[in-house]
């Protein structure tokens, strides 16, 4: 620091600190929006499809296992097929709900 120049006052420093923090928060917001690109188009489709299919598969697998174990083929398989389908729909519903919540949050942050 050059001689004769008075050091900045504490208020001044405070103000600059607050400004820097604000900028940083704004930048953090924009990276989050970038990460949210998975929500768009292809990303959403793949995510929901995997959710639906894997849940259904787990349901069918449980039904098949129980059938093998209890010797009730094919009845539990049929029952668990529908339960799995319902669980898959439920999971998809939850994922879309949380996606919509995130989208609202981002819109608020942006606007």
């Amino acid at each position: 620091m050059a001689k004769g120049e008075t050091p900045p006052s504490l208020d001044e420093l405070d103000r600059r600190l607050a400004q820097a923090r604000e900028q940083r928060a704004a930048r953090a917001g924009s990276t989050r929006a970038g990460l949210a690109s998975e929500r768009r188009g292809y990303g959403i489709a793949v995510r929901l499809a995997i959710e639906l299919a894997s849940t259904l598969a787990v349901g069918v697998f449980i039904g098949w296992l129980l059938d093998e174990w209890l010797g009730t083929r094919p009845w539990l398989l049929v029952v668990f097929f529908f339960l799995g389908a319902a669980a898959g729909a439920l999971n998809v519903y939850r994922v879309t709900q949380s996606m919509m919540r995130d989208a609202d949050k981002d819109d608020e942050a942006a606007g």
């Binding site: 990460l35 998975e38 894997s54 849940t55 787990v58 319902a86 669980a87 898959g88 439920l90 999971n91």
Partner: protein, 245 residues
């Protein structure tokens, strides 16, 4: 047509034995998949320990990157799990760094994509799933099972809803594993297919080459994004187990 077979877009995913090892009749050979997992772990260790070697107050580029990755995951855990999540930070951080480095290393030509194998992703997802369940059981005891019956549901519906909730809970590791596996496999297959076009088309191969450049950027994004998604879902599941909703 052995040569053609070798150029199949899927041949990049084949596991080869490098050092045959057999322990008690179990094939525990050191394969190229194992090699690239070791490389990923070594790379993470080197990246972090060499990056933090100088511990300067004003970080250099390398130290900045190491600190950035630490802060990124620390914030992720804090935002999604809360203060109780702090003790899971080492686990979540290790998980993220391993997947990220495995994905990123796989982008280098002639390397092996570890995360394109469902065995690997499913093993990772199973570790997460078992840990989350154990954490929930330890923290809440039998009360943990209230996760399977949402609040305010009439008792008459319970026999229908509980199996549905249990299936949806058991599907978590499957969808976690499938998502990482499907994204990586699809991406790397696509790169290889377009690479094949470049060779076949000769001079006109410039067009698919341009597509590869774009795809490569996209794949880099996906490599990061999938590591991020895996980590954030781990955090969300941890949050569910710790706080029950």
């Amino acid at each position: 047509m052995a040569a053609e077979e070798h150029h199949s877009p899927l041949s990049q995913f084949e596991v080869h034995t490098l050092v045959p090892i057999e322990i008690g009749g179990v094939d525990a050979s050191f394969t190229n998949a194992a090699l690239f997992m070791v490389i990923a772990v070594t790379a993470v260790s080197l990246f972090l320990s060499l990056g933090m070697q100088r511990r300067a107050l004003v970080p250099g580029r390398w130290q900045s990157m190491a600190e950035l990755s630490y802060e990124f995951i620390a914030n992720l855990v804090r935002d999604n799990v809360g203060s109780e999540g702090r003790r899971f930070f080492p686990f979540v951080f290790a998980l993220f760094m391993f997947i990220l480095f495995a994905n990123m290393i796989a982008l280098v030509p002639y390397t092996f994509t570890v995360t394109s194998h469902i065995v690997v992703t499913f093993a990772l997802a199973t570790v997460v799933f078992v840990m989350v369940t154990v954490v929930g059981l330890v923290k809440h005891g039998l009360h943990f099972f209230s996760l399977f019956l949402p609040k305010g549901v009439p008792i008459a519906l319970a026999p229908l809803l509980i199996p549905i909730e249990i299936i949806s809970y058991l599907a978590r590791p499957v969808s976690l594993a499938l998502r990482l596996f499907a994204n990586l496999t699809a991406g790397h297959t696509m790169l290889k297919v377009f690479g094949g076009f470049v060779v076949l088309l000769g001079f006109a191969g410039v067009a698919p080459l341009a597509v590869i450049v774009v795809l490569f950027g996209l794949e880099t994004l996906i490599a990061f994004l999938q590591a991020y998604v895996f980590t954030i879902l781990t955090c969300i599941y941890l949050n569910d187990a710790i706080h029950l909703h």
